[in-house]
Symmetry: C2
Subunit: 150 residues, 2 copies
């Protein structure tokens, strides 16, 4: 299969608010007031969990269909802890991001536990967001001159 | 500093559409029709890029303030390639997620290139989303019985 390319363009609206364009969609990202924002939208690390949920839902239905059982509904609870000390420049003792992410999958189905365990492992290993978080993803950052780019 | 906990609850609306609740906010995740969705919202891997942009914007302003220069505006272009073969169960030859993510930071500022290089490296290393993508993040997945949880 050919590679798929995904792309967003984004622009700061303020020090904590970002307006993102993904194809014909707009995504607003902000921070709660306690983290310096205006609290008009979810924050970056909440969007990470939301993207994980969206990916698990797609994979959950795809894998259920392959395995021949009906997934009537799927609820998900996802949470993570992070220590903001590195973010705020106070300490490098702990990593900047989530130290761990825990997911509860609550599928509505007649499939038995043995089938569901197999389903869960396939969903987790084939989900792109799961892969990008659980394994190292190379990131390249470059600077461009604003006045040349405009 | 104390750990911060972030949490979302999510529910499938269809095989490709997910409704996510993050505090008082709702996030809809879907897929383009070519990937089996109804194309009413960005897809999971686009939200990953959006969360990255939101995080870089927050960090960009915070680090600029610490370094004593004014960041008047920040544009960002972020893209990534992934091969969908593993997702669709066709091949395990390539990873499921983004093979790489490239970011262009376009800051509007009077700061010189030396300052901006230092700024860029601090932003990247202290951004939680950057950390979670570039380094291994432990993920735990568990199953819960739908009828017991309801």
């Amino acid at each position: 299969m050919s590679d798929l390319k995904f792309k967003i363009d984004a622009q700061s609206e303020s020090a904590a608010t970002t307006r993102v364009k993904a194809r014909n969609f707009e995504i607003i990202v902000d921070e709660p007031e306690a983290l310096g924002g205006t609290d008009v939208a979810p924050n970056p690390v909440e969007y990470v969990l939301a993207s994980f949920a969206g990916c698990l839902n797609v994979m959950g239905h795809l894998v259920a269909q392959e395995m021949g059982f009906e997934l009537k509904n799927l609820k998900m609870e996802i949470e993570g802890n992070l220590n903001p000390a590195k973010l705020f420049g106070k300490s490098d003792a702990e990593r900047a991001g989530y130290k761990n992410i825990t997911i509860k999958l609550i599928p509505e189905t007649e499939a038995d536990d043995t089938i569901l365990e197999k389903w869960m492992h396939a969903v987790e290993s084939r989900c792109p967001v799961s892969d990008n978080l659980q394994n190292i993803t190379p990131v390249t950052v470059e600077l461009e001159n604003y006045y040349m780019a405009s």
